[in-house]
């Protein structure tokens, strides 16, 4: 129970940071997706079944708190949770979280998440799908991956400390 409350607390903090402070580090309007890093982290630590509801509900809260269509982030974050959870391995949790594997997983998940997101987002608009995915989507995935270095280093440090 304590573990779940801890995750919920972290999720709320990340949601507030995402909505308020992340725009300070935006580069040409591109920002990292902190909630996605959290979803990948949860997927590696807890597995696919556990992370799927988290992906859905975090996406839904994001949809409700912003102006886009409701269900868009819920759908893309559910797919992201499924993708990240696919690589769950019970005996490789720390090894994945503390090494470059975590970064690769964040990048792959972020790119798939952004591709799913833009399929629906660009429908019926003047925005080109390929330009959005390979411009904003790829840049955002790289930015998110860069920021995922932080939790990776923290885990590596905790792992190496006696």
């Amino acid at each position: 129970m304590k573990r779940h409350v801890g995750y919920a607390f972290k999720a709320v903090v990340l949601l507030i940071v995402q909505a308020n402070l992340v725009d300070m580090v935006s580069l040409r309007g591109i920002t990292p997706d902190l909630l996605l890093i959290f979803i990948v982290y949860l997927a590696v630590k807890e597995g696919q079944t556990y992370v799927l509801p988290w992906g859905f509900f975090l996406g839904l809260v994001l949809d409700l708190s912003t102006g886009t269509v409701i269900g868009l982030s819920a759908l893309s974050k559910t797919v992201a949770a499924f993708t990240a959870g696919y690589f769950f391995s019970d005996n490789k949790i720390t090894m994945t979280l503390a090494t470059y594997r975590f970064l690769l997983l964040v990048f792959l998940t972020a790119f798939i998440h952004n591709a799913v997101y833009f399929v629906i987002f660009t429908m019926g608009s003047d925005i080109g799908f390929l330009g959005a995915v390979f411009g904003v989507g790829l840049a955002s995935a790289l930015f998110t991956t860069t920021l995922a270095i932080l939790p990776m280093l923290v885990t590596a440090r905790v792992r190496s400390s006696p």
Binding site: V12, L15, I16, V17, Q18, A19, N20, L21, V22, D23, M24, S26, R28, G29, T31, D33, Q48, T49, L52, P53, G55, F56, G59, L60, V61, L62, D63, L64, S65, T66, G67, T68, V69, I70, G71, L72, A74, L75, T78, V79, F82, G85, N114, Y117, F118, I120, F121, T122, S125, D126, I127, G128, G131, A132, G135, V136, G137, S140
Partner: protein, 279 residues
């Protein structure tokens, strides 16, 4: 039989969960105009608004420095403009009296602080610290001293959500100030806006100021939108490809005004009652 079904569900629980959440997401996507969903969104905006407000006290030094520079420049420009406007006001009053034009009601403005911004994956919205308690209603225009910012799309009791110009769902009737040429303003995902539906035969130039046309039910006329930064001629097209650089510096935006003007319901009713086929 049930036991077998349960065993299958448990064996494929990840896929069952994935399917369940995907179906719910698609149902939510399909029901976006639902009143209950709008109410839930208004409530969420309210709750998150309190949290965002608490965090928004953290100053952003980069933004403040940039804002100071802009304000100094703006101060010089405004002083100059005030002098010219004084002259224009006297002349305008005299001309209005002469032709008996009806005086247009001035805007009633509600000052608001931007307590949150969402810039993730082209989801460009603002959270404002004003809500229904302050008289804010959905579809009210948002402006700043620089020009048009956007419009209110969801309102909680104390907070509201604003859709800015750089949003894929944003559309506004616009006009080139110098030549009075009309167009429709939209955003295609870049750092600039697009002025569409302007035929190649019309007079538009780089550097022209673009303002709201007033044809829209939402935005009052003559609010600055931006400056034409480039005009391209695409072969095979009847229209100009016009890029407009927004007047508002969105990353540095901290204070805005909500115009307490609601869409003219009488006008909407008349336009809706136009018989089909008659333009």
């Amino acid at each position: 039989m049930i036991r077998t079904l349960l065993n299958i569900l448990i064996a494929f629980k990840e896929y069952v969960l994935l399917t369940l959440f995907l179906v719910i997401s698609i149902l939510l996507l399909a029901g976006n105009d639902n009143r209950q969903l709008k109410a839930v969104r208004a409530y969420t905006v309210g709750v998150l608004g309190y949290l965002q407000d608490a965090v928004s006290v953290i100053p952003n030094v980069f933004t403040l420095q940039h804002e100071n520079e802009i304000l100094r420049e703006l101060n010089v420009n405004l002083s100059d403009e005030v002098n010219r406007l004084r002259e224009a006001r006297i002349e305008n009053a005299r001309l209005r009296a002469m032709v008996g034009l009806r005086d247009e009601a001035p805007f009633n403005l509600i000052a608001a602080d931007v307590v949150g911004k969402s810039l993730l994956l082209m989801r460009n919205t603002l959270t404002l610290n004003v809500g229904t308690k302050d008289g804010v209603v959905a579809d009210m225009p948002i402006i700043s001293e620089q020009g048009l910012v956007g419009k209110v799309i969801a309102v909680g009791e104390d907070y509201s959500l604003g859709q800015i110009l750089l949003n894929k769902d944003f559309r506004a009737g616009a006009k080139v100030q110098r030549s009075r040429v009309d167009g429709i303003l939209a955003w295609d995902g870049g750092s600039e806006l697009r002025l569409t539906n302007v035929p190649k035969t019309q007079d538009v130039r780089t550097g022209d100021i673009v303002i709201t046309s007033g044809y829209s039910n939402v935005f009052p006329k003559d609010i600055t939108i931006g400056i034409i930064s480039s005009i391209r001629q695409k072969s095979g097209s009847l229209f100009h490809e016009i890029s407009v650089f927004p007047a508002v510096d969105f990353p540095a935006l901290e204070q805005v005004f909500v115009i307490t003007q609601l869409p003219d319901t009488a006008r909407i009713a008349v336009e809706a009652s136009r018989p089909a086929g008659k333009q």
